[in-house]
């Protein structure tokens, strides 16, 4: 099975109305090439699960400006103030989750867990409308798993099977998002032959990965530039 394909072919998996997960902590570890491809792709009314929506007019911030995002689920939209403007104008729905809850719900989604109780957020505005339960004298909130139709993730290297290794803090949400979507597209800086990655160092085993694309953009001091 050949998983290596062009970004334009891989992105066709995203359909209007889909829920997609997009890796990255801001632009660090974001699949910049796949995001660029998504901008050219005809898919609307997307629900985007991502920690942030990029920066104003950068990364997922571009997709926001195109009006393709119906709903965003994340923890920190502060880095793109346009998200707040769109929200106040009723152009986008927002579901704000504590960052650890966002991460754990994604993990749960990929691990077949139907829900879990966390202390985080108990007794705050973000727990409103959610079931709470006292466990051993402490208040916990029931949180549900998150899943997506397609995950767009960024890794450092892939072998041809789809085993992945990551690079520094560009790892962040990517390995868990790989587990929690029906179809996972991994954008990578380098593709090596199967067997070249040390089995002890593989972070994402290949069974999670459906497509591999080579990165055309990179994040530098000057911002996002073609490689």
């Amino acid at each position: 099975m050949n998983k290596v394909m062009s970004p334009s072919v891989a992105i066709k998996k995203v359909k209007s109305g889909d829920t997609i997960m997009v890796g990255g902590f801001g632009l660090v570890g974001a699949p910049l090439t796949l995001i660029e491809e998504l901008l050219k792709h005809d898919s609307y009314d997307l629900t985007v699960i991502s920690n942030n929506l990029g920066e104003p007019g950068v990364g997922l911030g571009k997709l926001l400006r195109q009006g393709k995002i119906k709903k965003a689920i994340g923890s920190y939209f502060t880095s793109n103030r346009e998200v707040g403007d769109y929200y106040l104008q009723g152009k986008i729905q927002i579901e704000l989750l504590p960052q650890g809850t966002l991460a754990e719900s994604i993990r749960a989604g990929g691990a077949g867990i139907g829900g879990y109780y966390t202390k985080t957020g108990a007794g705050t505005e973000l727990a409103k409308g959610k079931e709470t339960r006292e466990i051993d004298g402490e208040l916990f909130v029931l949180e549900k798993p998150l899943r997506a139709n397609v995950a767009l993730i960024k890794a450092h290297k892939a072998d041809r099977l789809g085993n992945l290794v990551y690079y520094k803090t560009a790892r962040n949400f990517n390995p868990i998002m790989a587990t929690s979507a029906d179809y996972c597209i991994a954008e990578v800086d380098e593709i090596v032959e199967t067997g070249e990655l040390n089995p002890e160092e593989i972070v994402t085993p290949h069974l999670y990965v459906d497509a591999i694309v080579l990165s055309a953009y990179t994040l530098t001091k000057e911002g996002v530039v073609p490689r």
Partner: protein, 222 residues
């Protein structure tokens, strides 16, 4: 350095003095980030929620790496023995009680010890980040903040008017004027910062607080 910056650095330096050897410490955005500049103990490891244990100051421009950032998305260095991990593991460390100290900035802290540091009603900034997780899981919570906001309003208030971050209460509050500990259900003033005075602290604090016995003796004795 202007006066405002100098005050922030004084707060950060005092914050650093709270850290014991072999601690695992998470530094929030703002004044807490400056704390690392005042810590010289290699046994103290800084945790960053975006997936790095062993955050170090970026000593040399040539070590700059755009893919290595802290939670404030600022470029950082890597300590000897550093490790990287995914976001779910990082927050398992936080919620699971593996972080000894979380230092965080606050919008308000009140006399019951509640912290508000994630939302200002009516402002279109939508973000919570790791604030709620850190409060729910870190063993010790130290708030580092200016004593008053930009308009001069007290930040240490009777009751938070902004939404609270957690039911978990603060342990220590360090400002440009004073240090408070949350003890026996209330705030206790334990220390005056340089160039501060009891009168100044009283004038700029809305919350009720007790004064630590030892500090009271020092103040009365001088």
């Amino acid at each position: 350095m202007n006066g405002e910056d100098a005050a922030k650095h004084r707060i950060a330096k005092r914050g650093a003095a709270e850290l014991k050897p072999h601690s695992i410490v998470n530094l929030g955005i703002g004044i807490p980030t400056l704390v690392a500049k005042y810590v010289n103990d290699p046994t103290i490891y800084f945790h960053s929620e975006n997936g790095l244990l062993g955050v170090a100051e970026l000593e040399d421009e040539k070590d700059y790496d755009p893919q290595r950032v802290n939670a404030g998305k600022l470029p950082v260095g890597e300590a000897l023995g550093a490790s990287y991990f995914n976001s779910s593991e990082s927050f398992a460390m936080i919620r699971g009680g593996h972080i000894d100290v979380a230092m965080l900035g606050v919008l308000q802290v009140d006399e019951q010890g509640y912290i508000a540091n994630w939302a200002v009603p009516g402002q279109n900034i939508i973000g919570v980040g790791g604030a709620m997780d850190l409060l729910s899981g870190a063993k010790k919570i130290i708030a580092l903040t200016n004593h008053t906001d930009r308009k001069g309003n007290p930040k240490i208030v009777k009751k938070c008017t902004f939404p609270i971050t957690s039911l978990r209460k603060v342990d220590v509050v360090i400002t440009d004027l004073a240090v408070f500990e949350y003890r026996d259900g209330g705030l206790v003033l334990t220390e005056l910062m340089p160039d501060s005075s009891l009168e100044k602290v009283k004038a700029h604090t809305e919350a009720a607080f007790r004064i630590d016995e030892k500090l009271l003796q020092e103040v009365n004795g001088s």
